[in-house]
């Protein structure tokens, strides 16, 4: 079979069927399937693969290669990676890095992503890992491919490879004024190159494609409606499914009457224990059938958002309190001798990811094999869930993740995929399930709520000497202080969460930065020092100092004094290789106490910039998203029910909430590129809290800081937004 006989997906499927499950596959078989060209794999033993396995405590090393790259006989380059595109722009930024190392035009690259049949196993797209690990892996393979091609040309011309250069998809012999295109070199060849991860990579200072503002791949499809999201998939004979939801969490079905639903034309009711679903020929009928089901549920008594933080503190996850993260010196002794002592509690509420595209899946069974298109950040994780649910082996399940309507850490799981598969199996036809907004607000999972207690001591001259930080439930991300302080106790206390909770953009870095940077600000004021001067006095981390200074300069920090109706605040921090500093100007209406974020300046540094336009977009998006959690987003719940599961009741940041935003990017070409989709979110809340304090003298320690009127008694705020 030749390369031209197969479509790309067929070709890739064939490759992966043979290879991804068994890297030991005979090389000739491998090449036979591929049809020709040059295939580059990263060897499982390479440093990069080990790194990404080790970093995720306990998960086995990938059994196969982590990514591969193919240069076809026509010179087209196809990159296969299990990472997924959810709006963070890695389809573009990864292709830029491959084009750079391979010396090919950007548009000769096709990225095949997030498809469990076509791409090598991948843990998932989260934790800002793509740029940090997948980027170098792909660059390594591309560099090896380039060197191989140069070598091939050298052999054909019988010259020393060192006299040749690679550029623009060609190997060039400038002395003799001759060249081969990559396609000419790979034509008729059947080569596999396994890379160990030792290749020489092009330094960022010499980048020509990486490091530039290449426009988003397929951008046009997003403005014409042509792009197909998971919820847009349509298959022949496809039916529509819907699932009956319990009246509350942990509810048990008491009684059920589906007779009215069953009488509807073409409707099938599927029941399996407490799972009740319907399948109908169209979406309207599916919803109609669902609402005509009579069900009664027994819902147990459960905690509510009232008294939540006491609950979290008094319900530890583990009996023994051994979760100490970090201890240095003696906080107790240091506190005995300091001039200024401050001890406060901070809280953050549960919030929802609310991706604009809710969970969606289309499932189809054929010959005992299940294929599901769904929106997920972990296609291989969802494949595992499906294997488990239906007792299948890996070869019997394929999960495909079309670039989706985002996730922000909220789509690690495969609920809709399992539901669609279950209904499709029963119906014997493909079934689509799209969660309603209310379902997404209720049956997904939440960013953890948390209580943070900080105790700190400072000498009269402003030297920070003691720091104790306890986080209950919200999480350990960025819990360590970046400031220099000799005596520390820093501890994360997992708790029994009354709600299902999970990952969220930045994880607990938002909560820990909110508490830490608010506390630092209070200390600065207590010591009579300017917040910038106080931070710099206690900070030696040069990267953090640099963003702090850059933000302050751009903002004009110190140029004007805060007044009761206008406050200035700042915050800074670091996590996952990203460094951020945020300055906020906040306006406060004296009569209504309405808080308006007027201007934000954020400085950002995450090593060498791969795509400045994409990076700017991410940092800005993080700032806007942060406004919600800072000022008004909060999940309200009682007795296993979400009380505000609609956009009308759960307020998200809108155009009118958006301040003037200026993003300052620091490009450290001498440092490896780190991910930037998450940490840009952490600076806003404390910067705004500090600005409100500077204006009014009121310290807000509970997020959200300016919730709707009827919630204000709980968070003790009189501010509104």
């Amino acid at each position: 079979m030749s390369l031209h006989d197969q479509s790309l997906p067929e070709l890739a499927r064939n490759i992966s069927h043979g290879a991804s499950r068994n890297i030991q596959l005979d090389r000739r078989d491998f090449l036979k399937i591929l049809g020709g060209g040059l295939l580059v794999c990263l060897a499982p033993a390479s440093a990069w693969v080990q790194e990404s396995g080790r970093a995720f405590g306990g998960h086995e090393l990938p059994k196969d290669v982590s990514a591969w790259l193919h240069i076809a006989a026509v010179g087209k380059v196809t990159v296969f990676t299990g990472k997924v595109e959810v709006g963070q722009n890695i389809r573009t930024s990864l292709a830029q890095q491959v084009a750079e190392e391979l010396r090919v035009p950007f548009d000769s690259i096709t990225m095949v992503m997030g498809d469990t049949d076509l791409t090598p196993w991948d843990m998932g797209t989260f934790g800002s890992r793509t740029t940090l690990t997948m980027g170098p892996q792909l660059r390594t393979m591309a560099a090896a491919a380039r060197e191989t091609l140069v070598q091939m040309a050298a052999e054909r011309w019988q010259v020393n490879a060192a006299t040749l250069t690679a550029a623009n998809g060609k190997v060039i012999d400038s002395k003799q004024s001759r060249s081969f295109t990559y396609g000419e070199l790979t034509h008729g060849e059947k080569l596999i190159k396994t890379v160990s991860g030792e290749e020489h990579l092009t330094p960022a200072t010499e980048w020509k494609i990486a490091g530039t503002a290449v426009a988003k791949v397929d951008g046009r499809d997003f403005v014409t409606g042509a792009h197909k999201y998971p919820s847009d998939m349509i298959l022949p004979e496809m039916q529509f499914g819907a699932v009956l939801r319990p009246d509350g969490f942990n509810a048990k079905l008491a009684s059920l009457d589906t007779s009215a639903a069953e009488k509807l034309n073409g409707v099938r009711v599927v029941r399996d224990g407490d799972f009740v679903g319907v399948v109908a020929p169209d979406a309207y009928t599916a919803q109609h059938a669902l609402t005509s089901i009579q069900a009664n549920w027994n819902v147990p008594t459960q905690p509510s958002h009232e008294g939540l933080y006491e609950y979290l503190k008094s319900n530890p996850e583990t009996a023994d309190e051994n979760g100490v993260q970090h201890v240095a010196g003696s906080v107790k002794e240091a506190m005995a001798s300091v001039d200024i002592k401050l001890e406060h509690q901070y809280t953050v509420a549960y919030i929802a990811h609310a991706p604009l595209e809710p969970r969606a899946a289309v499932a189809t069974w054929a010959d005992g094999r299940l294929t599901v298109w769904t929106g997920t950040q972990r296609p291989f994780g969802v494949r595992d869930e499906l294997m488990e649910a239906f007792k299948l082996n890996p070869a019997q399940v394929r999960v495909i993740q079309p670039d989706m309507g985002s996730g922000y850490g909220g789509k690690h799981t495969g609920e809709a995929a399992i539901e669609a598969a279950r209904l499709a199996k029963s119906a014997g036809k493909p079934v689509k399930v799209i969660w309603t907004r209310q379902e997404e607000f209720t049956w997904a999972y939440f960013r953890p709520a948390g209580l943070i207690e900080i105790k700190a001591g400072v000498r009269r001259d402003g030297t920070l000497v003691a720091w104790e930080h306890h986080n209950y439930n919200s999480g350990p991300a960025a819990i360590a202080t970046p400031y220099d302080v000799a005596n520390q106790v820093i501890q994360y206390h997992p708790a029994k969460s009354p709600l299902r909770q999970g990952s969220y953009r930045g994880l607990a870095a938002t909560a820990n930065h909110f508490a830490r940077e608010s506390h630092m600000d209070t200390l600065a004021h207590s010591a009579g020092l300017d917040p910038l001067a106080f931070r710099l006095k206690n900070l030696t981390d040069t990267r953090l100092r640099a963003v702090l200074q850059a933000a302050a300069d751009k903002f004009g920090w110190g140029r004007s004094k805060s007044t009761p109706d206008r406050g200035f605040g700042m915050a800074c921090g670091t996590d996952k290789g990203g460094y951020v500093a945020t300055c906020a100007e906040v306006h406060i209406d004296a009569a209504t106490r309405k808080v308006t974020i007027h201007r934000i300046v954020e400085a950002w540094e995450s090593g060498a910039i791969v795509n400045p336009d994409g990076l700017r977009n991410q940092v800005m998006g993080g700032i806007v998203q942060a406004i919600g959690g800072a000022l008004f987003e909060q999940i309200l719940f009682a007795n296993g029910r979400i009380l505000n599961a609609h956009f009308a009741q759960y307020r998200l940041p809108r155009f009118s909430d958006t301040p003037q935003i200026e993003v300052v990017l620091l490009d450290r070409k001498d440092l490896p590129s780190a991910g930037a989709g998450e940490t840009g979110i952490v600076g806003l809340a404390p910067a705004v809290a500090n600005a409100i304090f500077a204006a009014t003298g009121t310290r807000l320690r509970n997020m959200p800081m300016a919730p709707a009127h009827d919630r204000q008694h709980e968070s003790g705020t009189q501010f509104q937004s």
């Binding site: 959810v86 709006g87 963070q88 722009n89 426009a215 988003k216 951008g219 046009r220 997003f222 403005v223 014409t224 409606g225 042509a226 792009h227 197909k228 999201y229 919820s231 847009d232 349509i234 529509f240 169209d282 979406a283 309207y284 609310a354 991706p355 604009l356 595209e357 809710p358 670039d403 989706m404 309507g405 985002s406 922000y408 799209i434 309603t436 907004r437 336009d613 977009n617 991410q618 800005m620 998006g621 993080g622 700032i623 806007v624 998203q625 609609h646 956009f647 009308a648 998200l652 940041p653 809108r654 155009f655 009118s656 958006t658 935003i661």
Partner: protein
């Protein structure tokens, strides 16, 4: 079930649907025009926005029966002869999206605005667009895209 002739993107199409099925559901599920998105079904997010006789309208709140006599324009109907509309082009030029799921609704809302108010002020843009959510937070770029489109457009209207 009833029979309707809808005027969608300049073509007359026949569709069978219950009178009270939402226009959004009919467009997506019966006519397979999936560019129009579901975000809430409750008029709160704007992802489903289409033009109904030139007015930006939440298609999730419109019963198909009541749209039968209107000129419906969806995101698929803005491009003409391979040429993007001024608003589409401006969104592309400004990179005014991340995941892009809100983009169709944003473009239709902006198109409706510019037809009514060809040179909107910043406040008019915020007022007109405030019903459209972008969870990725690209609002500043969307405002910039609308301003760019307003500048680039002939005085006639945004639809071309």
């Amino acid at each position: 079930m009833a029979d309707f002739i809808l005027n969608v993107n300049g073509a007359h199409v026949h569709v069978q649907a219950p009178f009270d099925e939402s226009l959004l559901s009919v467009l997506r599920n019966r006519l397979h025009l999936t560019g129009t998105k579901y975000g809430c079904g409750e008029g709160q997010c704007g992802a489903c926005t289409v033009l109904l006789d030139g007015e930006a309208t939440r298609s999730c709140l419109v019963a198909v029966g009541s749209a039968a006599n209107a000129k419906i324009i969806t995101i698929e109907g803005l491009e003409h002869d391979g040429k993007l509309s001024a608003v589409q082009q401006a969104f592309l030029d400004e990179g005014a999206f991340q995941c892009g799921y809100c983009t169709a609704g944003m473009i239709l809302s902006a198109t409706g605005l510019l037809q009514r108010t060809p040179k909107p002020t910043a406040e008019q843009i915020v007022d007109a667009m405030n019903g459209n959510l972008c969870r990725c937070g690209t609002y500043p770029r969307i405002v910039a895209a609308i301003q760019r489109a307003a500048q680039s457009m002939p005085a006639k209207g945004a639809n071309r």
